[in-house]
Symmetry: C2
Subunit: 230 residues, 2 copies
């Protein structure tokens, strides 16, 4: 006695998902103006649900609304990317700790399966696969934490997506050969139920990536900051 309208999915949500993936997949590029009429026609909906979807994306900071002028795909600043990493350091640290506390044997087995046959060469293919596995791994880790609010936050603020917005190595900040041992140690700490160790390792993992990112940014800045087209 409660599965009435449930199943039904409103148009605006579909539009929201579609648009979001277009932005994440770079089909819409930072700075692009969102032509409502055009997108609405493409999606075969009116501007009403599109507008709603855009407002949602605005809240997530994927698009920027300028009143009376329209919506633009947002560009993340260096500062924001850094902040995303800083947040992940503590939030995924927390998730790792909780995961280690409540993990089931079946989950531990699945967790240990990650990166099992990773290709650590420098091939483009290998890097790409590793980057994908990296995302899946972190996603699963957060899931394991069972912290709904945390989950929502990371999801809605695209914290993770932002983290892969570096322009080299498929968004990876460090080379697989460097992060692989860290992943293995973290997996083992969680799978074997050692919360303190898991949290420490997760934080270390992000901390190192953040330091690396900082170094790169400083270097980039020193080399002469390219003008971004406003």
């Amino acid at each position: 006695m409660r599965k009435l309208g449930t199943r039904h999915e409103n148009l605006d949500f579909k539009v929201y998902r579609e648009l979001k993936s277009m932005i994440v997949d770079r089909k819409l590029k930072p700075g692009d103006k969102i032509l409502q009429e055009k997108i609405a026609r493409e999606f075969g909906v009116s501007r009403t649900p599109l507008m709603c979807a855009l407002k949602k994306l605005e809240q997530e900071k994927l698009v920027q609304a300028v009143p009376r002028r329209g919506f633009y795909v947002r560009r993340f600043t260096r500062e924001e990317v850094l902040q995303a990493f800083e947040l992940r350091e503590i939030l995924e640290g927390l998730a790792a700790r909780r995961a280690a506390q409540i993990i089931s044997p079946a989950q531990a087995e699945r967790l240990r399966g990650f990166f099992r046959d990773a290709d650590l060469s420098d091939s483009a293919q290998g890097i790409k696969r590793y980057a994908e596995e990296d995302r899946r791994f972190h996603q699963y880790l957060i899931e394991l934490g069972g912290f709904d609010l945390l989950n929502d936050i990371l999801e809605n603020y695209n914290i993770i997506t932002v983290s892969y917005r570096i322009d080299v190595m498929e968004g990876l900040v460090r080379h697989p050969r460097e992060t692989m041992p860290e992943h293995e140690a973290l997996i083992e700490a969680i799978a074997s139920g050692r919360p303190e160790q898991a949290e420490k390792l997760a934080r270390q993992h992000f901390h190192r990536s953040r330091q690396q990112l900082l170094r790169e940014m400083r270097q980039e800045k020193a080399e002469g900051p390219r003008r971004r087209p406003d």
Copy 2:
């Protein structure tokens, strides 16, 4: 050459703010159905901007949307309140650390002004004032951290609002006489620029509140869980 439409504030945002404060102030109570026609008439707007505002509030989890049935004011579960505290423990810990790193003399002075002439008696008036000061203090602390993303998250997820949703002592989990010394120590650690100490104290502060909350919840459950009118 960029302050064109800026200044203008769309209707849906005004409606959003108005509705949000109605919910936070309990003019709309958990479980209440939101009658769009009625609210729109009251606010003197059409349903279009109201709908948009409701979608925003849905994303923040202040209201729940049931497709084809409407929007309802959400009730926060005990679990959610606990999770809010758990998050604040680490997020405000981080904010405190950063605040201590970058605080200016003027800010330090303002910070030291908090709770200066707090009324620590048991009078309803005193408790209320203290609760208000508590909110302002934590708000300022987060501001001082200068962590925009963190700010947004705490704001948008109503993490702080949820924390004051306890039904006793104006939402305070512990008595002012107990928290006052903790506040003082934390203020001093930040104002005098001791990041590690500040983070430790902030986390301790929340940890204790969370433990207290847990105790109360267990007790309440043991005494017999009251049916909530569903």
